[in-house]
């Protein structure tokens, strides 16, 4: 179909404006993080970091407890995601491949659980954790994050399992595999992309979680990066270079994972849990 010239220009011009609008804040974070302070607090913005400096990253990394917090965030996030995958896998298989009484009830139950308003339950969670004498610990965070991402993980994985043709499994079983062997040898390898994009969203949820750690862990040693980042500014006043460097360090793992898994992640989301 041939379009007239103005018919081609408008969409492209709009798209250019949109790209700038969406990329600029992310770009500005990176740019500010690498600019020397005089270029940050200048009368007119310095649009491109001409002199690259790493001093702001040094400030951020040398901040109290930084490496402890990185360790905490990674520990809590990775464990929560791995546990939820382990818990979800068998259940996702059951929901995708078996017919049994109450099956849809389970699916709906997980759909509802996925909408749980965790942000509004933190006071109750605080008392539960306090009564268990587990304030200032990574264990409650890990467990609650695991449950937070579990419904999504299970429903998404169910979609991925269902997408694997039944015949593959059946032919493996004809060749003498048990059902479990067929699952491990045939389905699991094919699920790898699904597992990756599912864990990505679990990872983001846990990596970002803020209200719960805010209320549970007052002790700086047991906090996580989002909390540290939100308090960074109070600590560093108007040191925007250091604040942007800290934001960059916090955002990088997710941005890299996301861009790396982008295509799979997006399609996974489309045919996983968020069915229109």
């Amino acid at each position: 179909m041939k379009r007239s010239l103005p018919g081609r220009i408008w969409p492209n011009a709009t798209a250019v404006v949109l790209v700038i609008g969406f990329v600029f804040p992310v770009y500005w974070m990176f740019a500010t993080a690498f600019k020397p302070t005089p270029d940050i607090v200048s009368e007119d913005p310095v649009w491109f970091p001409v002199d690259i400096t790493f001093e702001h990253f040094k400030t951020a990394v040398d901040a109290d407890n930084f490496w402890t917090l990185v360790g905490n965030s990674l520990t809590v996030t990775v464990l929560a995601v791995v546990f939820s995958l382990v818990l979800a896998l068998a259940g996702a298989f059951a929901l995708a491949r078996m017919r049994f009484k109450g099956r849809r009830g389970f699916i709906v139950g997980f759909m509802v659980a996925q909408m749980a308003p965790w942000e509004v339950m933190v006071i109750a969670i605080y008392f539960i954790v306090r009564d268990a004498d587990m304030l200032n610990s990574l264990i409650p965070l890990t467990l609650f994050y695991m449950v937070m991402v579990l419904p999504f993980t299970l429903l998404t994985l169910r979609g991925f399992v269902a997408a694997v043709p039944k015949e593959l499994e059946e032919s493996a079983m004809v060749d003498g595999c048990t059902r479990r062997q067929a699952f491990v040898k045939v389905i699991l390898p094919l699920l790898a992309p699904g597992l990756m994009s599912t864990s990505l969203f679990g990872f983001i949820t846990a990596w970002n979680e803020f209200p719960m750690v805010l209320i549970l862990n007052k002790d700086a040693e047991y906090q996580t990066l989002p909390l540290w980042l939100s308090q960074f500014q109070t600590q560093f006043g108007d040191d925007w270079g250091a604040t942007m460097a800290a934001s960059t360090l916090f955002a990088i793992p997710i941005l890299v994972l996301f861009v790396f898994l982008q295509r799979r992640a997006v399609s996974g989301l489309a045919d996983g849990a968020v069915k229109g």
Binding site: P11, N12, A15, L18, V19, G21, F22, V23, P25, V26, W28, M29, I40, D44, P45, L87, A90, A94, M98, F100, R104, G105, F106, I107, V108, F110, M111, V112, P117, E119, V120, M121, V122, I123, A124, I125, Y126, F127, L143, V147, L150, P151, I204, W207, N208, P226, L229, S230, M244, A246, S247, A251, I254, F258, V259, Q262, V266, A270, V274, G276
Partner: protein
């Protein structure tokens, strides 16, 4: 929600009783019949425990007089519906509720309208431009919430912030050192820009993905009937996307209504507690001002309001149990 999450229809409790049979090895047929329940037991049990328990605990706390003294001395002082009476009788609570609903409404309308437009634009672009825009959208989408919040604080910083510089250069000289977090509306403006910026990609990308599944024949048939661009949009595209749009509206409502992190991190609900939305209000009352019982009651009311706002959607989700998922 409480009831359903604790006991999904044909709930786990029933499953539990059937599973605790005697220890003899069951017959093959029975084992096969039990298999799905055994596979589902771990995730269901864990979810029921960790989600149901805070829900119940929250309800219990909301009927207690629980402040700093009771917290320190581990006292349990029941005070019936006093917390609820006080909250429902306070103009503050209703003001915050109205504010939350308005805030959610404005954000969701912006997200849906702009997200839909961007999604439709994606469908019209050439390949190269589309990929470029997709990458931009994914970047914004992937930005961790607190990182994005911090960046927006910098963009809207009173001194040296890019936004004020642009406004100043555009001739609004009074904006040169404008303090965005100094008033209620301007703080909400920044939060809204942030939330809409982060939420458009989800709507746009998924909507674009949905448009690619629309059969071409429908458009051909429409153009044979003499439908123009607008007519084919309203008669083909929109009906096809309706279920997607409908579900997305409710997902966004839930998401924006609970946007604790963004609001709290931008200005802790300030200035003067004027940008507290319900979850932040519950937190500040409960934890900040150490009226934990009150905070729990506000939390419960917040959940009820959220349920009220999304009940229609929830009913449809629950009804989906009746057709093949």
């Amino acid at each position: 929600m409480t009831v359903q999450t604790e006991r999904p229809p044909s709930g786990p409790t029933e499953v539990l009783t059937t599973l605790e049979g005697p220890g003899e090895p069951p017959a093959r047929g029975r084992a096969a019949a039990l298999a799905p329940y055994l596979l589902l037991l771990p995730p269901v049990a864990v979810t029921v425990l960790f989600l149901g328990w805070p829900m119940v605990k929250n309800a219990l706390l909301s009927f207690q007089n629980l402040n700093m003294r009771q917290l320190i001395q581990h006292l349990t002082e029941w005070n019936g519906v006093d917390n609820y009476q006080e909250i429902l009788g306070s103009s503050d609570f209703w003001r915050v509720t109205g504010r939350s609903i308005a805030f959610t409404g404005v954000n969701v309308v912006l997200i849906m309208v702009l997200g839909t437009l961007v999604g439709l634009l994606l469908a019209r672009l050439g390949r190269r431009m589309r990929v470029t825009l997709l990458i931009g959208l994914v970047l914004a989408w992937a930005m961790p919430v607190i990182a994005a919040t911090t960046v927006y604080q910098w963009l809207f910083a009173a001194r040296f912030g890019v936004v004020n510089w642009v406004l100043d250069k555009a001739g609004f000289h009074s904006m040169a050192e404008y303090n965005w977090t100094g008033s209620q509306l301007s703080t909400f403006f920044v939060i809204t820009v942030l939330i809409v910026w982060q939420s458009i990609p989800f709507v746009a990308i998924n909507l674009y993905a949905a448009t690619t599944t629309i059969p071409k024949e429908l458009y051909e048939a429409a153009s044979l009937d003499g439908a123009g661009a607008w007519k084919s949009f309203t008669s083909v595209t929109l009906p096809y996307l309706r279920p997607f749009l409908f579900a997305t509206v409710f997902l966004e409502v839930i998401w924006v209504f609970k946007a604790f992190a963004q609001v709290f991190a931008i200005n802790q609900g300030g200035p003067d507690r004027l940008t507290e939305i319900l979850p932040v209000y519950a937190f500040v009352e409960g934890v900040g001002n150490q009226h934990y019982g009150m905070g729990a009651a506000i939390s419960l009311l917040t959940i009820l309001i959220l349920l009220g706002m999304t009940s229609y959607y929830l009913r449809i989700v629950l009804k989906q149990g009746e057709d093949e998922l």
